[in-house]
């Protein structure tokens, strides 16, 4: 039976990609953030996943306001990055695990999640940067992926409770999968930040700490706030923590332990965080 080896969470700020591209990892600005990844590399080398279920959000590359899904699930054989408008280098493509995608899709619809199924899906920095951070300098990614895109762009957004439930439903799907893959769960984005409005530059260490302290041991604690309250506490883009919550759900309801945490303010306009969790 497939094994869920654990979960990896990280911020995905576009500027990180620039820093990697320019080799700035040891610069004083970047070092406190990149230093948080030694442990991630070590852990991944040890748990050796071959599939990643990734919860992230599109930033206007694949989805537009003509058709904006609440939850989109990839079912493609390949996923490509593309120009996001800044003319930056294009990230490496990803291999999909289509059979597992369809297994999860069938299970989710049976479980009354009204997903949008994507046989084509461009992936943006929210997926690529966490991979560049986790597996630097590889020729090709060592894992196949099943990507989820959660709407964090256009309100109404799904509630944190619904996102946790989505993740838990994905966990049930993984439990009924008969393959023998080693599966890592990935949640990307956040933590607190706000790019738009007069409150641009807003960061909230207390709320981020609350989220990180509870995510492993009591994820339901993160689902008590409405989206509106989450925006107030985390910032307009800080709601990307929904991806983390869904990813935590996909770890399942058995006990989970935090094995690593790094938190640094600021990376670009963002409180940047990295975490690892394992089944307890």
């Amino acid at each position: 039976m497939a094994e869920i080896v654990g979960a990896y969470f990280t911020s995905h700020v576009p500027a990180i990609g620039g820093a990697i591209h320019k080799g700035l990892q040891q610069e004083p600005y970047w070092k406190p953030f990149f230093d948080g990844f030694h442990k991630v590399h070590e852990w991944l080398a040890q748990v050796k996943p071959d599939v990643a279920i990734v919860f992230n959000n599109d930033h206007g590359l694949n989805f537009f306001l003509d058709k904006m899904p609440t939850f989109a699930v990839g079912a493609a054989a390949e996923y490509h990055n593309a120009d996001e408008g800044w003319g930056l280098p294009i990230y490496k493509p990803f291999a999909g695990h289509t059979e597992l995608s369809w297994h999860i899709i069938n299970s989710l619809v049976e479980d009354e999640f009204d997903i949008t199924t994507c046989q084509k899906m461009l992936v943006d920095h929210a997926l690529s940067i966490p991979f560049e951070l986790a597996w630097p300098d590889v020729e090709a990614w060592p894992v196949k992926i099943v990507p989820f895109a959660i709407n964090t762009v256009q309100h109404p957004l799904p509630s944190a409770k619904r996102c946790l439930a989505l993740g838990q439903a994905v966990n049930r799907a993984l439990q009924s999968w008969t393959g023998d893959e080693r599966i890592v769960i990935i949640g990307t984005g956040g933590l607190s930040h706000q790019l738009d409005g007069e409150r641009a530059g807003f960061i909230n260490r207390d709320y981020d700490t609350f989220c990180m302290d509870n995510l492993s041991v009591d994820p339901a604690a993160l689902t008590k706030d409405s989206i509106h309250e989450m925006v107030r506490k985390a910032g307009t883009q800080g709601v990307e923590v929904l991806n983390w919550i869904a990813a935590r759900g996909a770890l399942g309801e058995a006990p989970v332990q935090e094995i690593h945490r790094n938190y640094h303010i600021p990376i670009s306009n963002t409180a940047a965080a990295t975490m690892l969790m394992e089944p307890a």
Binding site: L195, F202, N269
Partner: protein
């Protein structure tokens, strides 16, 4: 719009991209979405007026774009994820955009972020930034 969030107390300095905004901003966001394509970015640079006309921007949107007013674009329904692609045409990053919206210099905006990293609350760091702008601005 009668969404549940309208009953909520507003969040200062914060504009939720809800149905009202999405409906109002469709054309502006559509134009910005087109900037994923380098040829479209060049077309905008070559003839901004014609490019905006092609996307049927509202007068309010056109004005905000002409003035490079990020807050104006947001008031006209722009969503920051799409607007960032327009900003990218001018080589502006999210800190430049933050500076434009807060009225602080880019350096002061960055200092405000570092201050939060050093342990200040947003309110403290933001207050100090605004104070500084008053003195130097």
């Amino acid at each position: 719009m009668s969404g549940p969030q309208n009953a909520m107390p507003p969040i200062p300095g914060t504009h939720l991209f809800d149905g009202d905004a999405a409906a109002k901003g469709f054309e502006l966001n559509a134009m910005c979405y087109s900037f994923n394509d380098a040829a479209n970015r060049q077309a905008f640079l070559d003839d901004e007026e014609a490019y905006c006309a092609k996307f049927h921007l509202t007068p309010q949107q056109r004005e905000a774009v002409a003035q490079r007013s990020v807050l104006g674009m947001i008031a006209a329904g722009g969503n920051i994820y799409y607007l960032a692609k327009l900003a990218g045409i001018f080589g502006l990053n999210v800190q430049d955009v933050g500076s434009m919206q807060t009225g602080a210099s880019v350096d002061d905006f960055k200092a405000m972020l570092f201050a939060q990293g050093a342990g200040q609350s947003y309110e403290e760091a933001h207050g100090a930034m605004i104070q500084k702008e008053k003195v130097h601005g």
